[in-house]
């Protein structure tokens, strides 16, 4: 994948992420310098990228931010633990899908497609995608830190 296209996609994901967070939950995220998600329980969402270029988008957040995001998206308290996972599936689908559309419109023939999101939660979660080159962007909101890591093979 050409570096310019890669950087454009990173920007598309960044814009889509902040727009969707604002639209569905009225959360305002600002890019920040590298910060760790301090909470023990973490959520990681992996969305695969296929087409001319293969890769994945990894979205990570701590438990308390995810709970607040779910409550904001559901317009009320969480009634079922499944709500949290479904909310993350929907949220990731929206911003990743939005970014893929932007890149496909900009680069004709790119044919970028996404695989369905998978959500993991756990303690000491570590996520590795071997043989990809990735860029991590850190975002801060009043509810906490999230990271969005975008990686492709052959960059």
């Amino acid at each position: 994948m050409e570096e310019e296209k890669f950087n454009t996609f990173v920007n598309c994901v960044s814009d889509a992420f902040r727009n969707v967070a604002d639209m569905v939950a009225q959360f305002e995220f600002k890019e920040c310098s590298k910060e760790r998600i301090e909470e023990k329980k973490k959520y990681s969402v992996v969305v695969g990228i296929v087409g001319k270029n293969k890769g994945r988008i990894l979205f990570e957040a701590g438990g308390s931010l995810v709970k607040k995001l779910t409550e904001a998206m559901n317009d009320g308290p969480i009634s079922n633990v499944m709500d949290v996972y479904i909310c993350l599936l929907e949220f990731s689908n929206m911003f990743c899908g939005n970014a893929a559309t932007l890149i496909n419109n900009k680069y004709r023939g790119s044919d970028m497609r996404l695989t369905p999101p998978a959500v993991f939660s756990g303690v000491e979660l570590q996520v590795i995608t071997p043989n990809i080159h990735s860029i991590t962007t850190y975002y801060k909101s009043e509810h906490g830190i999230v990271t969005v890591d975008i990686g492709f093979e052959g960059v």
Partner: protein, 148 residues
């Protein structure tokens, strides 16, 4: 043959090529949210079929698989080379299974992503997933998959 049969055939064909004797034990339908293993390898696919599959190992089983693939070296942690090895074997299982699906349009899959940790829960779809259990020597491992 459906994806379940293809994955069974693919696993029981490919793993023994690395000296990993594998027997299929059974299949169950899983709830959307399920507890996962300590080492999980996720591959998503799109095109002729859309969905996700996850191969799940206990940490010690994953180390044994990596050790066997790397000629018997002692493996005590999941480093980059080990992750690459276990990701590669999962890609081979997925590729072999998808190749047998005879889909009208090609099935393309994402690079493998390895998720490790403790007390892991996982959801790969809003729909119920299928879970296949295999015996690998004295240990068990699972393949969960879900088609959209």
């Amino acid at each position: 043959m459906d994806l379940k049969e293809q994955l069974i055939q693919s696993s029981t064909n490919i793993l023994p090529q690395f000296g990993l004797r594998t027997e299929f034990q059974g299949a169950i339908e899983e709830n959307q949210l399920s507890s996962a293993n300590q080492v999980n390898i996720l591959i998503g696919f799109s095109g002729g079929l859309t969905g996700n599959m996850v191969v799940g190992f206990k940490k010690t089983t994953a180390f044994k698989v990596i050790s066997t693939m790397m000629g018997g070296v002692d493996v005590t942690a999941l480093d980059v080379i080990g992750s690459s090895a276990i990701g590669e074997i999962t890609t081979m299982i997925a590729g072999n299974a998808m190749a047998g699906m005879e889909a009208k349009t090609p099935i393309i899959f994402s690079p493998p992503t390895i998720v490790t940790g403790e007390r892991i829960f996982l959801i790969i779809s809003r729909l119920k997933a299928n879970k296949l259990t295999f015996r690998l020597g004295d240990d068990l491992f699972n393949i969960s998959f879900c088609l959209e």
